[in-house]
C-alpha cells in the first residue's frame, strides 16, 4: 500500500464533447498547446477512457449522448473524477431550456468539479484540474483503504478456517 500518490502528478484526461458549442471544447484543446502546456503538470490528453483518470466533459446532456457519457465513465478504471467544463456542462447553460437538453452532466454521472464560464478559459480549466487532483487523491486513499479492509477480512477469514 503505497503512500506515494503518483496520481496527483500524472493525471491523464479524457475529453468528451457532450453537446457543447465548441467554445469550451477548443479551450480544453488550447490547454495542451504551447501557451498553456498542461503537460507541465503531467497532464496528457489520452483520448482513451481506459487510460484516463479525469473525464472532462463540455456541454450538456442530450438524448443521444446520455448513454455515451455513461459508457465512457464506466470504461475508466478507478479512481477517477469528472470535471464539467463550462456552464453547459453544469446546468445546460444557455441551452438549458432546449427540448433536447436534459441538463448538466450530473444528470447522468457524478460530477466532482464544475468549471464555470462560457466559454471556460484555459486558466480556469487548469484550476479545475488542480481542484480535481485533490479529490482524485482522496478517492485513491479511500480505494486503497477499502482494498486493505477487504484484504484484512480475507486474512481474518483465512486464519479462522
Amino acid at each position: 500500500m503505497s503512500t506515494m500518490a503518483f496520481l496527483k502528478r500524472s493525471p491523464w484526461i479524457l475529453h468528451y464533447d457532450a453537446s457543447s458549442c465548441n467554445g469550451c471544447d477548443i479551450e480544453v484543446l488550447a490547454c495542451l498547446t504551447p501557451l498553456y502546456d498542461v503537460e507541465r503538470f503531467g497532464i496528457i490528453n489520452t483520448g482513451n477512457p481506459k487510460h484516463a483518470d479525469i473525464l472532462m466533459i463540455t456541454g450538456g446532456i442530450n438524448e443521444l449522448n446520455r448513454a455515451v457519457v455513461r459508457n465512457l465513465y464506466e470504461q475508466m478504471p478507478e479512481p477517477k473524477v469528472v470535471v464539467a467544463i463550462g456552464i453547459c456542462a453544469a446546468t445546460g447553460g444557455i441551452f438549458r431550456e432546449c427540448y433536447n437538453i436534459a441538463g448538466g452532466v450530473d444528470k447522468v454521472i457524478p460530477v466532482d468539479v464544475y468549471v464555470p464560464g462560457c466559454a471556460a478559459r484555459p486558466e480556469m480549466i487548469i484550476d479545475g484540474v488542480v481542484a480535481a487532483l485533490s479529490i482524485l487523491e482522496e478517492k485513491r486513499a479511500k480505494m486503497t483503504g477499502a482494498a486493505q479492509i477487504k484484504d484484512d477480512a480475507r486474512h481474518a477469514a483465512g486464519e479462522s478456517t
Binding site: L14, H15, Y16, D17, A18, S19, S20, C21, N22, G23, C24, D25, I26, E27, L29, A30, L32, T33, P34, L35, N45, T46, G47, N48, P49, G59, G60, N62, E63, L64, N65, V68, L72, G93, I94, F95, E97, C98, Y99, N100, I101, C118, A119, R121
Partner: protein
C-alpha cells in the same frame, strides 16, 4: 481476398474533437463503406426562439458554435436588419469585418492544427495553435471574450476598437503574417504532409457543385463560391476575390485555407486603414415582420439563417443551415477508397463543425 472489418468510429474519438460517428467497413485498412451519423450535439436551439426575444437571441446565435460565434451573430443580425430595413453605420460594418476575419483566422489556424493532429504531426498542431493564440489575444482585448465575442448586435456593434488599439493591431500584422507564411510553407511544401494529403478524397469540380459543397470544400475543387463576394459588411468596399484551388483533394482544401489566412490578414489590414469614423449602432425599434434568408461566408462555407418574423418580439422561425451540413454529402463520397489512417484527415478536410450542424 481481404475480409471485411467493421469498426465503430466515434462518437468519442481522440482525433475528432467533436462527436461524429462513422460505421466504417474496411478491407484490410481500405474503406469500402463509411456511413456517418450525427445527433450527439443536437440541442434544439432553433426552438429557443420561442423563448427568447429576437434581440436576446443574438446570444444564443453566438453559441450555435464557439468557433465562428461571431459569424453566427453577424448572420443573424444581418438577417434581422434586412427584414427591419435597418441601415448599419459604416464603422460598425468595418468593425464587423475585422472581427469576422479575426474569427476566420483563428478558425483556420485552429483547423490547420487539428488537421496536422489528424496527420499525426504534433509539432505542427502546436505551432498552429500557438499562432492562433495571438488572434485570440486580439479578440479578447477588443471584445472581452476569447472565443465567444458577444459584440455583434442587431443594428451594429457593442464595442469600439480605439485608434490606439487599431494602430497596434496594424503594426502586429506584418510579423504575424510572416509567422503564418512560415507555417503555411510547412503545410504546402513539406513532403510528409504532401504525401498524406495529395490525391486523397478527390472531389471533381462538377461533383462538388452538384453535391452542394460549400466553402473551402467547394473552392478546393475549383468552384468559386464565396459569399463575401456579395459585399456584406464592409467586403463590398474592400474588394475581395475568392481563393480557389483546382485539384479537389485534401491538399487543395488545405491550400485554400492556408491562402485564406493570408487573405484574411490582408482584409484586416485594409479594413483598419480604411476604418471610417462614426456611430457604432442604431437604435432598434419595433419587431421584425417578414422573412429573409441571411447568408454569410463562415470559415467553413456559407451559412444560411432563415429568419421569419411575425411582428412580435419573438420570431416565428429561425432555421440555421450550416456549411458542414452541406458538406456531408461530399464527405460521404470522399471516404470510400481512403485508408483507415486517412479517415480523420478526410473527415477533417471538410472542417466539420458538428456543433452548428446539429444546432
Amino acid at each position: 481476398m481481404p475480409e471485411r472489418i467493421v469498426v465503430p468510429f466515434g462518437p468519442q474519438h481522440p482525433v475528432l474533437p467533436e462527436p461524429i460517428h462513422l460505421d466504417l467497413v474496411l478491407e484490410d485498412e481500405t474503406v469500402v463503406e463509411a456511413i456517418p451519423s450525427i445527433g450527439y450535439i443536437h440541442r434544439g436551439l432553433e426552438r429557443l426562439i420561442e423563448k427568447r426575444e429576437f434581440t436576446e437571441y443574438v446570444y444564443v446565435a453566438e453559441r450555435i458554435c464557439g468557433i465562428c460565434s461571431f459569424m453566427h451573430a453577424l448572420c443573424y443580425s444581418q438577417g434581422i436588419e434586412e427584414i427591419m430595413k435597418i441601415e448599419v453605420p459604416d464603422r460598425a460594418r468595418y468593425l464587423r469585418t475585422i472581427w469576422s476575419e479575426c474569427s476566420r483566422l483563428h478558425s483556420h489556424l485552429l483547423w490547420l492544427g487539428l488537421f496536422a493532429d489528424g496527420m499525426g504531426f504534433e509539432n505542427l498542431f502546436m505551432r498552429s495553435w500557438q499562432l492562433r493564440e495571438s488572434v485570440l489575444d486580439v479578440l479578447e482585448d477588443t471584445t472581452g471574450g476569447r472565443v465567444i465575442q458577444g459584440t455583434c448586435k442587431i443594428g451594429g456593434v457593442r464595442r469600439d476598437i480605439g485608434a490606439e488599439k487599431l494602430a497596434e493591431m496594424h503594426r502586429a500584422l506584418d510579423p504575424f503574417e510572416e509567422q503564418c507564411r512560415n507555417l503555411g510553407d510547412v503545410f504546402l511544401n513539406d513532403e510528409t504532409v504532401k504525401y498524406r494529403l495529395q490525391d486523397l478524397g478527390v472531389i471533381s469540380k462538377d461533383e462538388a457543385y452538384a453535391l452542394g459543397a460549400a466553402g473551402p470544400t467547394a473552392r478546393g475543387s475549383g468552384v468559386a463560391i464565396d459569399h463575401r463576394e456579395t459585399g456584406y459588411a464592409a467586403y463590398g468596399d474592400l474588394g475581395f476575390k475568392p481563393v480557389v484551388e483546382t485539384a479537389g483533394d485534401c491538399y487543395a482544401r488545405c491550400a485554400v485555407r492556408v491562402k485564406e489566412v493570408y487573405a484574411s490578414i490582408d482584409l484586416i489590414r485594409r479594413a483598419i486603414s480604411e476604418m471610417p469614423e462614426g456611430p457604432l449602432d442604431v437604435k432598434v425599434k419595433g419587431a421584425p415582420d417578414g422573412e429573409y434568408f441571411s447568408r454569410v461566408e463562415q470559415p467553413r462555407g456559407e451559412v444560411v439563417h432563415y429568419l421569419r418574423g411575425n411582428g412580435t418580439k419573438h420570431l416565428a422561425r429561425a432555421r440555421i443551415r450550416t456549411s458542414t451540413l452541406a458538406n456531408i454529402p461530399p464527405l460521404v463520397k470522399m471516404l470510400p477508397g481512403a485508408q483507415l489512417a486517412d479517415v480523420p484527415v478526410v473527415v477533417l478536410s471538410i472542417d466539420p463543425c458538428i456543433s452548428c450542424t446539429e444546432r
